[in-house]
Amino acid sequence: MTTVEDRPASPPAEAPRRRPNPLLALLRNSWRQLTSMRTALILLFLLAVAAIPGSVLPQRGVNPENVDRYFVEHPDLAPQLDRIGAFEVFGSVWFSAIYLLLFTSLVGCILPRMRDHVRALRARPPAAPKRMDRLPQHTVLEAPGAADPQAIAAVLRRRRWRVQVRGNEVSAEKGYLKETGNLLFHTSLVAVLIGVALGSWYGWHGNRLLVADEAFCNTRQQYAEAKLGPRVDSADLPPFCLTLDNFDARFLPSGQPESYRATVTVDRPDGSDRRTADFSVNSPLRLGSANVYLLGHGYAPILKYTDRYGRSQTSTVPFLTSGDANLTSEGVAAFPDANVDPATGRRDANQQVAFEGLYLPTAPDTAPFVSSRFPEERNPAVVLAAYRGNLGLDAGIPGSVYQLDRRQVTNGKLKQVGDRKLAPGETWTLDDGSKLEFLGTKRYVTLSVRHDPGEELMLGACVVLLVGLMGSLFGRRRRVWFRVTPPDSGSPTGGSSLVSAGGLPRTEHPGFAEEFASLVAAVRDDGRPDRRAREGVE
């Protein structure tokens, strides 16, 4: 960013130096090259090409799981690709280099054009060329009596031309909006980039899952995954806490979701500023210091396990959905502290217990119980397999809380000891006399909490960008001149003065001929409406 802002200041400073310093000459030449349209074109093209791998290869910022899978499937290629940033294309050195160069070129391009444009805005329309008939549009009309340049100027002014009268000559120019729009457009591109930079430096976000009636506070530790911009410290996170009071999902009879609504209580960690708020998928909770987005939802079965010594533990376990519209969800309830012998107080690492399986909000009436029939809880059931043995939690390898460690199963340290379907309120007695009771479920939501300080700037810049773009594309700069030759200067027409007119479109403007003709007609009719002037058409 700094390069973008600072660089353009230097070249004008170089200009006054006269001594042919080869280094400076080189610099100046490079600068000219960089800020040429051709370079801009090439850089634009490069930017487009460089973005392609970002869509072909999995990206960490979009889908980290796919990146991991890619590493597994292409063990040789993946590390090489990783080294050149192919899994983080949009943050890679080469991608950044391209857009920074492009924006440097852009700034180098718009600064001089801004200066020129301000000059052009201040300047008066230039004097008429000697020979009007050399202009793309020209004509001569005959005006009875002495035609008045001021009257012609008035006609032009009425049509919003910028007019300058010099003696018997009228110069007029119109369409400054084109360049204004173009400069606005390009400047707002820079503003968008600044917005992006602000967001990535000073923004942060965190994701987590929140079960109904649970609360969490906005600290880094309480997120399952959090990312803070380089200029943000954990202590900078605004202090607030959220409690999920209620989650309401409505579905159409077909099972298609109709609406989601989460109700939360927001307060400060000390309990002050308490209030409740609602939000849903397309309308996030905007807290000012952060926005809370509802990303997903599901059910968390409440399971009570009573071990063989009669000690019970209750666990509310969020089961995750894997994209199934009827919310078939998977999860695992682990009880690593089960079967602690009350006599010795020792935990037996081979007597740990876990239940893995499915939760079906609407289970089918008959087997197989593998998928839910409806996303609402019409016939809820958990279908669980019980495992006993060593869960492998002490091995030091971080495992997912939503999955059993399969290695423990394959190497025989963890054994399946039965499976069953349970409706709420049902109890399953296992082979060793321990019991599992399915008490019911709670709702959970997955949330993303974000703060992006660049957003307002980007939005504003986008509005300006669009307005500028329209001006730039549809504006047309053009000039017209009128020169009045009074009757006494030897005109062959006797009592009439001749008005010669010329027009020059300064940008491509295929309709200019019509505009010029109607302008000339207006000037003519403004003089003497009763007399038809002889119009010299080329």
């Binding site: 910022g61 979009v62 976000h205 979701p257 998928v281 397309n282 957003e455 295929p510």
Partner: protein, 337 residues
């Protein structure tokens, strides 16, 4: 209703096909001398329908061959040969058939929308159906304003037949309602503008490719693809139409992308996340910006600039089809092998 829609699509494809054949007949019969004899001065092309500010007025001599009304009394000096007369008839029939096809096509869209009880933009099939319709509708507007460009209809109907047949065979899905995440007015705004601008870009490809052929032809190339352009309107006209359509569409596309970002912010918590769709929208946008730059740079030849516009449309197609085929689902990296 949805069955009606399916049938209408089939009929529309058939009618486009017949229109295409009719255009081909016109093309085959067309007599260059008879056409160039009827040069009339400055006709104006105003606005491609909606908004319109983007479309240039074109002056200079252009070939005029009205599509709907026969000129009353052709001057003897420019009396067209019999085959040219038949060619014109074939061309008019083709234009009429295109109108009919567009009406059927619209009927298919409306019935599909009624069947689904929402805007018909919920999936790729409907998306292609809508984009192609916009392209045709915009073409009819252009044709109405500039009948002389009628011969481009051959390429347009060809594109329509190909795209619609592809949609029918490969993309068809039964009617389903919209997800809650899509139930946002920003979504409607975003999708309608994307569809609209894509339709105009699609139409823009027709004069772009025609220009590339015609330009080669005018520069004396007489080998195969260039000979196709023997009876096309003049290269300069085609080039201006290409630019007009792109200049008209680009701000709409820009707006559509911004609207998408606003919607994504509300729905997913981030305005821009570089998922494959967003990435390809970015690529298209940059390529089209490149086209506008190239066209504004005098040292870049017009055919180079036009190639960039064609490239831009390929990226739009990539976003429409490629991204959905290669990059979705769990194996979103599968496209790399």
């Amino acid at each position: 209703m949805s069955a009606v829609s399916d049938q209408l699509v089939t009929f529309a494809i058939l009618v486009y096909l017949v229109a295409m054949i009719s255009h081909a007949v016109e093309y085959a019969l067309g007599n260059v001398r008879a056409v160039s004899a009827r040069i009339t001065p400055a006709r104006e092309l105003v606005g491609a329908g909606v908004g319109g500010a983007g479309v240039d007025k074109v002056d200079g001599p252009v070939v005029d061959a009205p599509a709907t009304t026969a000129p009353a009394g052709t001057p003897p000096s420019t009396r067209p040969s019999r085959s040219a007369g038949r060619a014109r008839l074939a061309g008019r029939i083709a234009a009429g058939l295109t109108v009919l096809a567009a009406a059927l096509h619209l009927g298919a869209l409306v019935t599909r929308g009624i069947a689904a009880d929402r805007m018909p933009w919920g999936n790729m099939y409907e998306f292609v159906l809508t984009v192609t319709w916009i392209g045709t509708a915009a073409w009819l507007v252009v044709l109405w304003k500039r009948p002389s460009l009628r011969r481009l209809g051959l390429f347009l109907t060809l594109v329509m037949v190909l795209l619609l047949a592809f949609a029918e065979l490969k993309l068809y899905v039964p009617v389903v309602p919209l997800m809650p995440a899509l139930q946002s007015y920003w979504f409607i705004i975003h999708v309608s503008t994307i569809v609209f601008s894509s339709g105009i870009f699609l139409l823009g490809v027709v004069p772009a490719v025609s220009f590339l052929l015609r330009n080669g032809y005018e520069q004396g190339r007489r080998s195969f693809p260039y000979t196709l352009a023997r009876r096309l309107p003049g290269a300069a006209d085609l080039e201006r139409l290409t630019f007009a359509l792109h200049a008209f569409s680009f701000p709409i596309f820009t707006f559509a992308v911004i609207a998408g970002a606003i919607w994504a912010e509300a729905a997913w918590g981030r305005a821009w996340g570089w998922d494959p769709k967003e990435t390809w929208a970015f690529i298209s946008w940059v390529v089209y910006a490149g086209y506008l730059h190239a066209r504004a740079t005098p040292s870049v030849r017009r055919n180079v600039a036009t190639w960039i516009a064609v490239l831009g449309f390929l990226t739009v197609l990539m976003n429409l089809f490629g991204v959905n085929f290669f990059f979705t689902g769990l194996h979103s990296y599968a496209g790399v092998e």
